[in-house]
Assembly symmetry: C2
Homo-oligomer: 213 residues x 2
DNA sequence: GTCTATATTATGATAGAC
DNA sequence: GTCTATCATAATATAGAC
């Protein structure tokens, strides 16, 4: 007899183990790509045995998907929280702050841009999966913000996809921290650097905060 | 006795073989990163045996360096040719056309942005080598163009490193062709798309071609 | 749920024939 | 300069003990 708790799939140990594994996997997948990453390496960083990954995720692809779900879920949640706090604010300011929030998120999660970059080059099952489950929604959210806001601000027509990729590309700076530090001689995750950079990007995409005639 | 030709290191077969290998290696290193790429895969794409790579480059790292030399050499050459054709033109136009040329080059060589991205995330011997031999020169060339030109045009002060990374990040669009085609429904290497995107980026970095007051 | 042991395949590099 | 043969290691994944 199994009493009320038919599905004990949320027990504490499991959740914590999976979290450790997925955080380690995110770092390594982002750094080395899917084929470059080894499950042994991920397991070692998570402090478990390699074979435990097979138990939890069946195989490497399953782990990769779980990792993507966690990463993009955090991004989506961040957007939603930011927007919830901006109720009643005018559209242009909302969009401006949302784009800034995205760049701040990218500075805190440099794995995001690398994760997308690692998979977006060539057609593959993984690209299709990521696009359907996460990338598409994220890119459309951004495009559907930038386009109308630029129109409302009276800015020159520009391809929204190009503007979106400019934003995505800009976030790559945070994903190349080692190189950036060599070049610029400053930490890329210094909050001041992040803020200045985000302001620059948003100003380029939407014009200065005073609007444009 | 060896007669006049002491150093026969430019014989035709060798040069062609190395070219085939390095072109294959570029594609695969850019796609999979250094550890993700396998020398067998590279050899197969080049149409030679895996063990031949050891003969020509000693090891995987040697091949990676030769590949980088070829790629960045082509980029540098492109810059020099473009500048040679712009003698006498005013500085702002020179800079504008040079940045456009860079984006066109990136659209034709999507491996460049990926190659840099693959190595720039974390400190490593390879990053240091690439920085000293190639990246540094490229980034400084761009920064030393954008900064003074913006000043001469009377544009607002902005961090030249940030502007440089905006350009580099923008080029990432061409490196994610599979994803871009899903999102935008058009080929990213369509010359018209490239031209419009390049104009957009240059306008953002340097203002419209009419200058700014 | 986590471990040990292991099967199977793929990897980078070397030795030596031609 | 290119090939065949081969080695030592590392990869993913499975089976089964606890």
């Amino acid at each position: 007899m199994k009493d009320a708790s038919e599905a004990p799939r949320f027990d504490v140990r499991t959740v914590r183990t999976r979290e450790q594994i997925e955080l380690a996997a995110l770092e390594i997948f982002a750094e080395l790509g899917f084929e470059g990453a080894s499950t042994r390496q991920i397991a070692a960083r998570a402090g478990v045995k390699q074979q435990l990954l097979s138990y939890h995720y069946k195989n490497k692809l399953g782990l990769w998907k779980a990792t993507a779900d966690r990463l993009f879920g955090a991004c989506r949640e961040r957007f939603e929280q930011r927007l919830a706090g901006l109720e009643g604010v005018d559209e242009a300011t909302q969009t401006r702050l949302l784009l800034k929030e995205y760049l701040v998120f990218c500075s805190e999660n440099p794995e995001l841009a690398r994760f997308m970059m690692q998979v977006g080059a060539t057609p593959s099952e993984r690209l299709s999966w990521l696009y359907e489950h996460h990338t598409r929604g994220l890119l459309e959210l951004v495009a559907n913000r930038i386009g109308p806001t630029r129109k409302a601000l009276g800015l020159a027509d520009a391809d929204v996809h190009h503007l979106t990729y400019l934003l995505m590309g800009a976030s790559a700076m945070f994903s190349q921290r080692a190189e950036y530090e060599m070049v610029a001689g400053q930490k890329v995750d210094d909050p001041d650097v992040v803020a200045r950079f985000a302001d620059l990007v948003v100003e380029m995409l939407l014009g200065g905060p005073e609007g444009v005639g």
